[in-house]
Amino acid sequence: MLRFLGFRLLRAAITIVMVVSFAFVVLRLSGDPAQIIMGADAPPEAIAAFRRAWGLEEPLWLQYLRYFGAIFSGDLGRSMRDGREAIALVAERIPATLALTIPALLIKLGIGIPAGITAALHRNSLVDRAVMVLAVAGFTVPSFVLGLLLVLVFAVQLGWLPSGGQESWRHAILPIVTMGVGGAAVLARFTRSAMLEVLGQPYIRTASAKGVPWRAVVWGHALPNAAIPTVTIIGFMVGSLIAGAVVVESVFSWPGVGRLLVVAVANRDLAVVQCILLLVAATMVAANLVVDLLYGALDPRLRQRAG
């Protein structure tokens, strides 16, 4: 078990280093922050001074080493725009993002899983078809289209809800619903196919053949097995709690991490972008680690292989 955990932690660390390195290189090759931040018509001396101040005139490998050295001493750099610490800038946006993504996650779980199970149990029935039509619609419509559609109906036409901003809890409803619907659709399809796969297994027939009532077959025998593939997709959803709202935050002008990321990329605000990507990679990797541990708890076959 310890070896398993150690191996996973090492792999997690490598993943994070790779993400951060990739971001470092791509950001620096795809545009000059000095030009963008100082403006196109800034005098050359000012741009040169800016470059010197941020160490941008040094060779890339030296910048890279310096950057990693700083990370390990806990310094994630400062924003090139206002000089504040990138980590502080990002941290103050996190609560706003979580205020959207956590309720959205609850909607995904609360609607997606029951809908998928119900559809699987009534395969080819009217209920199944209805759930699947909605699910296909839910995950083929991109979130910015759905978001705009909801704004059009509930903000513009009906005037029930605000179309953007963060003044009250009512401002959160449309973005939460926008994210929740898409995720619930994905989860419903996943849960349905996992359940169908499990319901066709011989051990389900065995349980029925020994007199287990159908309800108990579903709860006691089918669901624990169907949970194994479903946990994977839930892990992804948990992993994207921080970064999963980029599009929706932009559509609804919600001042969260996602919007900060969009602005920081546009400005080539290197430290801020890298700080967010580091955070995203870390949450995704942490969620994956939890999923791996959950696999072991759910499936004794994997537990043995891992231990």
Binding site: P202, K210, V212, P213, H221
Partner: protein
């Protein structure tokens, strides 16, 4: 036969236009061992899955299945849940995938004990351990906490048998219980089934494609072909005097253990598709003795002797005085 334990009359199953069973009549006496033989797809397993209501919803089932006189075909779920495992237990071909991979085997056996004998907790665990002992699993106390993937195929089949015994059934239906196992393990499992039948007095239906397996374990055999029973007799009688040409073909394909060497015969052709059944006798296209009359109607089973019936026009003709 005295009052049969299970009486199946005219059992027919249809999977969306493709008939899988075309009228099965079968009776099992209390404590009897019956072999159900035929090639794959002939309806051996479907007969019992249909009788216990275990087929998927799209299967259309008709006919009658009486358990000690009580109709169970189409019975309410609550009735069927008491019958399944409690009065008629069933074990399957692939023991490894027939046990739930995420539950310990002790829990799976105890579940049946709770359902049919009201045993819970420590009492259920003690009885589960006794059952594992009874089916010959070494170190039963520790094995209770094992998962199916930690046991061999033969041991998993023993667990399946223990689970089947948990409800103290009057009939155990064993659906190809040894097909997925090594030959040596096969013999052990068959021996175990025979011994348990003697100890408990339960009836046994052994579904197999292997006449040899059935001959060793059973008293009576029913031979199935394309969704019908074509011949039924006591084991010794069937081997000595097979009447239906299909049975004759099956026996001709077995190498004799003693006597002179002879070339093994094969049955020409293949089983008809469910939705392309020939008119009349389904075996006629492959039958060496087929006559024009065979295509006219499906032959009814007739008694060629007491306790020996065959569904073949020739059997009828042989009975007529010359």
């Amino acid at each position: 036969m005295s009052e049969p334990l299970v009486a199946i009359r005219g059992l027919a199953v249809d999977f969306g236009g493709a008939p899988a069973l075309r009228g099965i009549d079968l009776a099992i006496a209390p404590g009897e061992a019956l072999g159900l033989v035929g090639e794959s797809g002939c309806g051996k397993s479907v007969t019992w899955l249909a009788a216990l209501g275990l087929l998927p919803g799209r299967a259309r089932v008709s006919g009658s299945v009486r358990l000690a006189g009580e109709e169970i075909l189409g019975a309410a779920p609550a009735v069927l849940d008491r019958v399944r495992g409690g009065r008629v237990a069933m074990i399957f071909q692939d023991p490894a995938s027939s046990l739930n991979p995420v539950h310990r085997i002790g829990r799976q056996v105890a579940e049946a004990l709770g359902l049919h004998r009201g045993l819970r907790g420590v009492a259920a665990r003690a009885e589960a351990r006794r059952l594992l002992d009874q089916v010959g699993i070494p170190d039963a106390g520790r094995r209770l906490d094992a998962y199916p993937h930690e046991l061999s195929g033969g041991q998993n089949q023993r667990v399946m048998i223990a689970m089947a015994l948990a409800g103290q059934p009057e009939l155990l239906v064993a659906d190809e219980p040894t097909t997925a196992l090594d030959v040596t393990i096969q013999a052990q499992i068959l021996e175990l089934l025979g011994a348990l039948r003697r100890e408990t007095g339960m009836a046994l239906v052994l579904i197999s494609h292997d006449l040899g397996v059935v001959a060793e374990t059973c008293e009576r055999v029913a031979v199935m072909y394309a969704g019908r029973i074509v011949e039924e007799a006591r084991v010794a009688r069937l081997f000595a005097a097979p009447t239906h040409p299909y049975t004759q073909g099956l026996l001709g394909a077995l190498p004799p253990l003693d006597g002179p060497r002879r070339p093994l015969s094969a049955i020409p052709g293949s089983v008809p598709e469910p939705n392309g059944m020939p008119p009349g006798c389904a075996f006629a296209p492959r039958c060496p003795h087929a006559a024009a009359a065979c295509a006219l109607g499906v032959p009814e089973a007739v008694a060629v002797e007491p306790d020996h019936a065959a569904a073949c026009l020739r059997a009828v003709r042989e009975l007529l005085p010359a």
